[in-house]
Symmetry: D3
């Protein structure tokens, strides 16, 4: 699994969550995690979660650290499990630095303030996850906070989370190959 930090600022609009976007955009072949910072605004037809879409909701923040993950295997249940695991791991990475951090499903909160957004889905050829953590939550439609005010270096956080996720993926792939079935 490849990991790529993209230093140029990029906006996330939801259109990026499609098969092979990572490959076409960053030339990363195969299972990959890429991350970049930039504004976030997802609405209307680009919303993948139909709970948001049905509520005419939108996702917005002035600046977030975005993670896009693509795995070329698995069904929607794999995608959702991988997403939850990723958000748990984000909690593990941030836990030591941020007081009052808690995870609720695929969201991180600090107290009552939302720190992150996430969606997992499938394309015809892959599993896809978008996970983004506010750096500056300005514009968010709910009470939110960001890494900036929490004093967390977003790039260092991203680097650690990506390394942890890649490591976990490799350990799971390895474990997969030493387990026998049971009756």
């Amino acid at each position: 699994m490849k990991a790529r930090c993209v230093r140029e600022e990029m906006a996330y609009t939801g259109e990026e969550l499609r098969s092979l976007w990572i490959y076409r955009t960053f030339d990363l072949e195969g299972d990959a995690i890429a991350w970049f910072a930039g504004p976030c605004e997802v609405s209307g037809e680009h919303l993948v979660d139909q709970v948001d879409a049905a509520a005419n909701d939108h996702i917005k923040a002035a600046r977030m650290m975005h993670f896009i993950i693509e795995h070329f295997d698995g069904d929607l249940n794999h995608a959702i499990l991988r997403q939850r695991l990723l958000v748990c791991m984000a909690g593990e990475v941030l836990g030591g630095e941020v007081a009052g951090l808690r995870r609720v499903g695929d969201d991180l909160f600090v107290g009552e303030k939302k720190l992150s957004v996430s969606i997992a889905t499938v394309s015809p050829v892959s599993n896809l996850i978008h996970f983004a953590v506010n750096i500056d939550p300005t514009g968010a439609p709910v009470r939110a906070c960001g890494l900036e005010e929490l004093g967390v270096d977003p790039w260092r956080f991203a680097e650690r989370l990506a390394a942890a996720y890649v490591g976990e993926a490799e350990r799971m792939a390895k474990a997969r190959c030493t387990i026998r079935g049971v009756p």
Copy 2:
């Protein structure tokens, strides 16, 4: 998904990790998590992880809190993802109470001492997970610690972890049904 706390002391030998054992033993139908306390000794042919089996390793502790989980769907990758998520969640539940707790793959450690064991596998009809946390680690073949010495009430911990896991399973099942695919 059903949850059942079993108050009678039971030993875990590895034979319990088979399809429909929860149903036959506790009369729990469908996806379920059951937990009980008791000694642990798994060796030889009952080892599911062939890394352990190849090393003539064994798993042992005087008393552990055992969790057995069965999901009637999914492949081995689902089983492993569910297991990692469970162990992460055990970390979330214990994190506030236990200083120096860390997760490495499917293991919890306190400092250099191992707190837990776990395996995930498949049967012909289901996903299966065994996760066990030392209460009293006496007899463990590696440096280990237990909930007792950490001052954690094992039954309260188990109750909280099981509730969190069931809640997560339900949230994921719900999320599964409001997500559209992407191109």
Copy 3:
């Protein structure tokens, strides 16, 4: 599995057979069956069965009782099996009331007159079934009959079929969890 009777008259054009339409339209989350009465006209690009499409065929009736079913699991073979089971069950429900009723694949006939239409397919995230029984077959491109002339109350029929289908789905889900594999 949820069931919802929609009392307002709605037309069926084929566009309704898409993932999460039930959720977006009726706010029913998860596996569901919804039914409503209204005219039916499906043609051209909205035809899912390419036998019809290739023949420049169309589906039409002045008023039908429409059932839309979505299951958030399964492949196309599951969808087709579920559809056949549903049509069999419609036959069981109507059998006592309608003389000369017979099922041929996914169609019901009374003598030589066609009583129903049906299609099963997959979306990127689900199984989908449309099944519709003529109330007033006026406009149908083949010899057809309807519940009205047969003296069957369409709402009572729909209620009974939906209840039977939901019950069957639940019994099957339960059976799934008490069966062991064989060598």
Copy 4:
């Protein structure tokens, strides 16, 4: 899909429900339905349904018409759907001849008397179904009736059911190949 009527009397003990038994016993290659008449007695470890096994239940009748079906594809959900469809179709075949016939899940009843038994399961390489209809129910552990007392020719019934099932399997396989997906 092949169909084979076996005229020699054979007992069914549950051991027959295993992969490739039809091939090894009757030299029928590929998806197949085979039927034969004989006594039935299934108990203990040969019970596939753990509800029966847990209850120390057994299945018994002096003489039944047995159907064994194997499909070399599909998961346990396909097996169960195919089984329900088969039992529905048995109802369609018998419906005209037997008053008071009704289906409840995978069982046929005449009034309160049980007419049939059935199980569906998976082997490592296939879907398997056993369906058996009492000819002479003597020895059954519940109130039961048989085709003999109902005046139904068991061989003619079996022939018709098998032909209907094979026809349905072929129609479904054909339908599978003319359906497009939807968004």
Copy 5:
């Protein structure tokens, strides 16, 4: 599996690689291989391989023998395996006639000259393969050769390859049904 030789000259643009195109165009139902001769020009959005698309590459030749294959089962890995097998078999068919033929992945070469192009993919309901062998390579963006200059009758070659592929598919389907699983 059905095979159809189409004698009318047809161009291949990439749009033909979609589910049920064979059925709609040639009225062939079910798993099928169809072949025809004609010019080839695939570019831009019709490229399925994103390596080509990313490189702004295109596929072109004055006249090729085109094979379109659709199987109504399988995932993308099945599609790719089937494609490699097909290309191997093309090598087997041509091997006796063409000196210096070699296969590299899904391509055939004669010395350093490219003889063929191929892609395998999935639709929502099927596996799809396009394989085409140059008859007259004029216009190809790389060094290429064609059957014409090699003195190979393209129609006879196509007939032999299609027959071999259909035979192999049937032998594999048959083998599938006589194999037991192992522990």
Copy 6:
């Protein structure tokens, strides 16, 4: 995918075709191909192909080059496709050296003499292939020939085939990740 040449002489009896045998025997983790030379005798319950088993057939040769392959993914159709591809590739490797070589399904022949045996199957956790080429065919139950009399160095052949298979597996895995789906 790992490759391992085992220089010590070992017999093949059929028992070796089980999940994780490569790992336990050669300490090779993950997808792997291992090869070794030795006598072959498979009969009775160790036969995986029930055509052989039903015919009371057996597989025997004084010395063969054995390949055991395990992939930790895929169903029985993947296993069979991989096997056919492997046998094709053995043909490609041997083709230049051996006159009159031809492939029929999963067998290689030289003229009318059988050169190889092969089986593909599934375990609860993996795909498995055994492919063996006679070095000295003495004892074979059919007319057979061997690499020795053909003047082919079995170790060099094995090395080339294994390298080709590993290369193909890697190219396919890479191709898997640059292909988009089609409608």
